[in-house]
């Protein structure tokens, strides 16, 4: 049985697709067969971030409609042979995804994969609903900014009441906070909500902080998930996040910003 992870946020543009690509790659690199699904029907983008846009033949909706088999639609990643991508359809038909259709695909994938990462679209419409409905775990991507925090809380309400686990009275979805685009320097200046602030407001388990980083744009320019850029801060942040998710004990980093001389002398990394 696979574990289904939804990467969600409510608010748009906070880093869901960046995160989905990174953690899917991270899980696969750790030896777990992983599929990552783009739920953003009409606005396919995961293929670009994963660098497989030219290999898309069939998509999610083709599989739901029986126009292609799962095996035909899944694209094997060029960097890691345990990672597969299921691209979103570019159709403008909002009802292209159905709950039964999505459920069936996830069930089929579950037989063969260890992790299924669902990249949710923004908003709380159908695509976002279906992305989270079958989830076991939710990675709530939040930026340290008022509207993102509020929308994350909204998402938490939806996860707790509108998911399959909620409807069937099963153990609730495990929710994790991924605080992204964090700038410790701005936090120090009092310009930005701190990790503690956001955690206090949302009362969520913190899986990791991803710093605001130029490496993310570099990675998307070249179509290689940022987690493979091992020298970059954002890449390392995602490596840590995957490790923590898998139960490894990793102290949090990127919360205090660039290490000063003091920290360097006294055993920072």
């Amino acid at each position: 049985m696979a574990r289904i992870i939804v990467v969600t946020s409510g608010k748009g543009g906070v880093g869901k697709t960046t995160t989905s690509a990174a953690i899917a790659m991270g899980l696969a690199k750790k030896g777990h067969k992983t599929a990552v699904i783009d739920f953003d029907v009409g606005l396919r983008n995961l293929d670009l971030i994963m660098g497989c846009e030219r290999r898309v033949v069939y998509d999610f909706v083709n599989v739901i409609n029986g126009e292609a088999s799962l095996n035909q639609a899944l694209i094997r990643d060029k960097n890691c042979n345990l990672l597969y991508i299921l691209p979103a359809s570019q159709t403008r038909d909002k009802d292209a995804l159905s709950q039964e259709g999505v459920g069936k695909i996830l069930e089929d994938l579950s037989k063969d994969f260890k992790y299924i990462v669902c990249d949710s679209p923004a908003g709380i419409e159908k695509g976002a609903h279906l992305a989270m409905y079958f989830a076991d775990d939710a990675f709530v991507v939040t930026n340290p900014e008022v509207s993102s925090v509020r929308d994350s809380d909204r998402m938490l309400g939806i996860l707790a009441s509108k998911s399959r686990r909620a409807e069937q009275n099963q153990e609730p979805i495990r929710e994790y906070l991924l605080l992204s685009r964090y700038s410790p320097d701005r936090v120090k200046l009092g310009e930005m909500l701190s990790v503690d602030d956001v955690q206090e407001i949302l009362s969520l388990h913190l899986l990791g902080v991803i710093p605001e980083s130029k490496s993310v744009l570099n990675a998307s320019n070249s179509g290689i998930p940022v987690i493979l850029d091992e020298k970059s801060d954002a890449g390392q942040a995602y490596v840590d996040i995957v490790a923590r998710y898998l139960g490894e004990d990793k102290p949090h980093r990127f919360i205090d910003g660039k290490k000063g001389l003091f920290a360097k002398l006294f055993g920072g990394r």
Binding site: V146, V149, R154, G157, G190, L193
Partner: protein
């Protein structure tokens, strides 16, 4: 106090202001999320019944649902109009 310090302090309040606003908003939205779905209907029907006896407006009545660890309470508040405004 240097000019720099001044900006530090005024900016320090921008994040804390954000936090304060969010705490209030999130608490409010969470409590309304947990409200039973029959609440608006209940409020409407209660208003109809009360209006049979007293002439009150929509805003004179409030129904609050509260939840703590071991109990849920429904609090009904009706503000009666002045004596003169009473209907026969």
């Amino acid at each position: 106090m240097s000019l720099l310090d001044y900006f530090r302090i005024s900016k320090a309040s921008s994040a804390s202001l954000a936090k304060e606003r969010l705490q209030i908003l999130v608490a409010h939205e969470r409590s309304s999320r947990n409200q039973p779905s029959y609440l608006p209907e209940l409020q409407k029907e209660l208003l109809e019944v009360i209006r049979k006896y007293v002439n009150v407006g929509q805003e004179a009545i409030s129904v609050n649902f509260e939840q703590d660890d071991n109990q849920e309470t429904l609090e009904l508040n009706i503000v009666l109009p002045d004596y003169h405004a009473k209907t026969p």
